[in-house]
């Protein structure tokens, strides 16, 4: 076996064994949160990195997914799994309804439009308190305990969620790889590189932008649904433009179109501020500074920079 794959295997093994060696629930929680960000960043990469759509509304779909699944459970007593799937479907439909007219807007207007939509959705969630609980929606059911072959698993435990998020992350990456390495993905790349030429070669530019946008939003929505059950309470801020901005920072800093980028970005921007003292206060400063440094000195992000150091590095970094 190639040494490269041995390394990948060891990293994978370490990731799988984290909950065995890490006893502190706090750290499991931290890793789970990073995993959630990795899923969001990976899905944003489909729209931003692969298709060239700079969206400041990505968190909005994470939020809508979380809220619709939670509301289905709380108000209509839908069981968790169907609620999760239905909530994701609802969000996909909302994303398509928003994306269909928006995506015909080009360039800076599209970015501004997504910003406005992100802010508007946060305001709506905040003010529609009859449905969304206003400043916070709490009491979202925990996952139940299940007994299989006489063994009882507590699905509401921090460890279970760690593996759940890990599984979602792996599936997301596989989905994205498959989409990207196909006719659809080549169309995304064409749109990113030159929209006019793509249309002149017979590609349905707005149609494929919509596919990319909705696919990215759907993954975010599914993650949002799981997040709602994980946390038990959600706030409108998870859908807000600040959150979307953070996701954009993570993908730009980590590096687009790269598994390593989708891992490095969230790891760096989630953990480093945690280690800084007075983390909350220094976080915006840190986020902004690292974003500017990376965008000026490493336009392809950290993963892209590492890849460009040596041809062998390019092979090693997925």
């Amino acid at each position: 076996m190639h040494p490269r794959f041995i390394i990948y295997f060891l990293i994978g093994l370490a990731v799988v064994l984290v909950p065995v060696f890490v006893q502190s629930n706090y750290w499991i929680y931290m890793f789970t949160m990073v995993g959630i960000f990795m899923v969001l960043v990976s899905s944003l990469d489909l729209a931003y990195g692969h298709t060239g759509l700079v969206s400041l509304a990505h968190a909005a779909f994470f939020g809508i997914g979380a809220y619709s699944s939670a509301i289905l459970q709380l108000k209509l007593a839908v069981p968790i799994l169907p609620a999760l799937l239905l909530g994701t479907l609802i969000t996909a439909i909302i994303a398509a309804a928003i994306g269909w007219p928006m995506l015909r807007i080009r360039g800076p207007y599209f970015v501004l439009g997504t910003l406005a939509i992100g802010i508007a959705i946060e305001i709506i969630i905040h003010n529609w308190d009859g449905l969304t609980g206003g400043v916070s929606l709490s009491g979202i059911p925990m996952f139940p305990e299940v007994t299989i072959f006489g063994t009882t698993f507590d699905l509401s435990s921090k460890r279970f969620f760690y593996y759940l998020v890990l599984a979602v992350l792996v599936v997301t990456q596989i989905l994205i790889r498959r989409i990207v390495n196909s006719r659809t993905g080549r169309t995304f790349a064409s749109i990113r590189e030159n929209e006019d030429l793509a249309a002149a070669l017979g590609m349905n530019v707005s149609g494929y932008k919509l596919i990319s946008f909705v696919a990215a939003s759907t993954i975010a929505a599914f993650m949002g649904g799981i997040y709602a059950n994980y946390m038990g309470a959600i706030e409108p801020e998870i859908a807000g433009s600040h959150m979307s901005f953070n996701l954009l920072v993570m993908i730009v800093v980590g590096g687009t179109r790269s598994i390593a980028g989708a891992v490095i970005g969230p790891l760096l921007l989630w953990f480093v501020p945690e280690f800084l003292e007075a983390a909350q206060m220094y976080r915006p400063l840190f986020f902004g500074a690292i974003l500017i440094i990376v965008i000026i000195f490493m336009p392809t992000g950290i993963a892209g920079k590492l890849r460009s150091l040596h041809p062998r590095m390019a092979k090693w970094i997925p």
Binding site: R178, R183, T187, E193, A199, A200, G202, M203
Partner: protein, 261 residues
Amino acid sequence: MDSMNSSQSNPILRTENLSVQFGALMAVGQLDFQIYPGELFGLIGPNGAGKTTVFNAITSTVPLSHGDIYFKGKSLRSLKPHQVVTRGIVRMFQSATIFPKIPVMIHIMNGLSCRTKSSVWNSIIRPPSFHKEEQTSRQRARELIQFTALEGFEDHAAESLSWAQQKRLMLATALATEPRLILLDEPFAGMNADEIGEMIALIQAIRQDGMTVFVIDHNMKVMQRICDRILVLNFGQKLTEGLPEEVAQDSRVIEAYLGGD
């Protein structure tokens, strides 16, 4: 070639009173012309005459102010640019317009996209038909790479090619869309004599396969050599139209060219 024969069949492309206006500027005015299947039709005229605008109108990239365009008897009006390609018309842009970072092989496969079907679901589930389509796409792309003499560059980014190679890459990508009519906007611009020769050979080869070619260029000598018929445009208006030797001797054409450049 045999323009006498072809004029008896139905035109593959026909414009009727084609007019494009940008504000007060009449970029193309009341233009009528026909192109017959298998023909190599030329469009010449000084800079700013409205030549590219004619292509833009045919490919639905600018709206028509008046008139209509018919391809194989059907109107192209109200089609989106990508739908025009599906009908069988493709264009090569004036400068080398390419996907800069995309490798040559994939670049050409992008041209095949409009003729293949594989959906998002297919790319995720990957049934046998998915792999089969990918394989035939690759095979076709390889043929076009060979045709345009780009072997050995399969994995090179498009932007790393020379100017002439980029133009050939664009030709290959355009041909991948399986057009019946191909629009070439100044395909010889910025090339040396050898490269022009290669491009002419390619154009003549695709005509052997029954392709209709509509070409814009400045180079009167080359155009005279390759075109079956030539239309001369000046200030958006048709100056004259006819066989290359007729056009070359037309005093108005000589005047427009000497006065224009």
